[in-house]
Amino acid sequence: MHIATSSAFKKNAHDALGNAGLQKALARSGPSFIARRAAAVAALPEFEELRNTARDIKNHALANLDFYLETYEAKVLESGGKLHWCADAGEARAVVLAICQAANARTVTKGKSMIGEEIAINEHLEQHGIQPIETDLGEYIIQLRQELPSHIIAPAFHLNMEDWESAFRKAHTDLPADRTFNERRDVLIEARTKLRSKFLAADVGITGANFLIAETGSSIIVTNEGNGDLTQTLPRVHIVLASIEKCVPTLEDATSLLRVLARSATGQDFSVYTTFSTGARRPGDLDGPEEYHVVLIDNGRSAMLGTEFQDMLRCIRCAACMNHCPVYGAVGGHAYGWVYPGPMGSVLTPGLIGVDKAGHLPNASTFCGKCESVCPVKIPLPGLMRHWREREFERHLTPGAMRTNMGLWAFLARRPWLYRRATRASTVALGWLGRKKGRFSSLPLVSGWTDGRDLPAPEGDTFFARYARAGRGQ
């Protein structure tokens, strides 16, 4: 099981700011994600309308989730598949292991799956003598380095060429030691060659699912590499890991969601492979798995229904929120300490592992609102983070100093005359103290700010004083 380090967010973030390799990767890759999404959106005049459609489809599916899941189950069974309902991660791990053991599996290939990370399926299989092999290029190196993904669609977001080279040299010791890695292509070809034999030898293939379709009993995966398709086509057994909120009613509903997914994620109009799997190999088929299992996992989702966090279940895991987040852009994904980073992680993680362990995450936001403005299903992420802050405060998990400061501020805010005098006095004092440099590199009580950057010194008067002078609203 991945030990969540979300409670150490402040230390993680501090370390991340000092990690030169990570900062290099963030500086290179952050802006390109933003530019590519912007170009894809600009090329589709209906994009805003499609966001509303996508939001409405997911809301409709969630409001009738029990009905659609039962309809979906009936279709899966009808098409020769099996469906396993799992209330939590432990049940899901046990079901997957049992299927693999029944298939006498020695190796299992895996497509990229965030729910697979969430239930830590790899560790569980390894503990029982079954070797899982990640086949998405980014997941492959993450597995070699024994890390968590640092991004939900680009697991190796935090790595640079030199990291790839050293991980491959360490892992592929059967290859000539004097081979060169002059360009990215060399890395790609080596991974392709290494993994091809794994695809052919695997007994079981495990993939995630971007969507489940009630109409047809299909699971959908979306990839660019084709690794997910090889994973679900070549082995004798295919296992789909999917959380319950992935279910949508029809092919048309899934299609509308797919129109916003790739554009929001990578800025592609459509991913290279969008594949719909329905049941096991049929009579006359020359390829495809003989067994098809769907492991349907709740693991905390149903408890979010009917709460202020229900909106989060619309999430289609595109990563636009983290790609546009100034906090993610500064510290990367690992600082968040668990499977889901960025704004979506700051809302989801407290719901899944507890606000007592992940309370820092909803506080790690400037509330700039960029995440909500790019979300393809219009999840009000800053509002949901605010709800977590309220819950944290209500449960007295907020640190004492912060509660004291909040109390002091509330005392002043309820007495406007006092508030104005206090802010005026501190403005004058700080302005005078900082009159030479115009900023402070350290100040008592605000080291949390000044450790990372300077605090500007006030120049001139308070807002209220200026407002009064300007003659109120001219």
């Binding site: 499609l50 489809i57 098409s79 640079n160 790609l188 084709g226 090889l230 290279v272 390829d287």
Partner: protein, 223 residues
């Protein structure tokens, strides 16, 4: 079994019991009628322009297209493409009636095997069920005459597509699938360009685990 406990938890969250029958009837009707949502205007074009849009989008996604006058010209187009790419004239082909009946014997240097792809196959020839102009996407429903491995294992995939089966939007392709094939096939792939990865420094490289090249032989049969 956790089915009942999960369904109960969902209903508790939704603050209701099982859906009343009249609502279930409405939802079943919604599935049966599968209403379309917003369809982008970009593909709402006369058919010849949809074909052009399809070709532009395939090329934008790093695929290539050769347009030929009729089905009988396909073997020559395949042979020419393989020669131009310096590839051997050996391929594994989908056992699809429309491909099997082509005059392959007119190109004696082409060695064609029918069936599914194996890891040793360098070139595959696949039959495309439909083309979707909106994004230059091929629809490939799997089945005995269209093995899935042909889309995955070869370094080079050649797709034979009749222009008359190019549609504007995905929704039209789904309706075509529903009316011509009926029940959902075991596997349906929507393929947009050749395999790629941007996992290394977020920089695009073609040819990850699937084909490095995707070549469409487009048969102009719709005029």
């Amino acid at each position: 079994m956790s089915k009942q406990s999960i369904l109960t938890a969902i209903r508790r969250g939704l603050k209701r019991g099982p859906l009343p029958e009249h609502q279930a009837v409405m939802l079943r009707r919604r599935i049966a009628e599968h209403p379309r949502h917003v369809i982008p205007a970009r593909s709402r074009l006369p058919h010849p322009q949809q074909v052009d849009l399809f070709v532009r989008n395939v090329e934008k996604e790093f695929g290539s297209v050769a347009r030929v006058a009729d089905m009988n010209a396909v073997p020559a187009a395949v042979a020419d493409y393989l020669a131009a790419q310096n590839l051997p004239g050996r391929a594994v082909m989908a056992p699809h009636p429309e491909l099997r009946t082509l005059p392959w014997s007119t190109r004696p240097l082409l060695e064609i095997r029918e069936g599914r792809a194996e890891a040793t196959d360098a070139v595959s020839i696949q039959h495309a069920f439909a083309g979707i102009a909106e994004t230059g996407t091929l629809m490939m429903p799997g089945g005995p005459d269209r093995p899935v491995t042909l889309n995955l294992l070869a370094d080079t995939e050649i797709a034979v597509l009749r222009a008359s089966v190019i549609v504007g939007a995905y929704e039209e392709a789904w309706d075509k699938l529903r009316s011509e094939i009926g029940a959902m096939p075991r596997n349906v792939m929507l393929i947009t360009g050749p395999s790629r990865s941007a996992d290394i420094e977020q920089t695009l490289e073609l040819g990850a685990h699937g084909p490095r090249r995707l070549h469409v032989v487009l048969v102009e049969d719709s005029a």
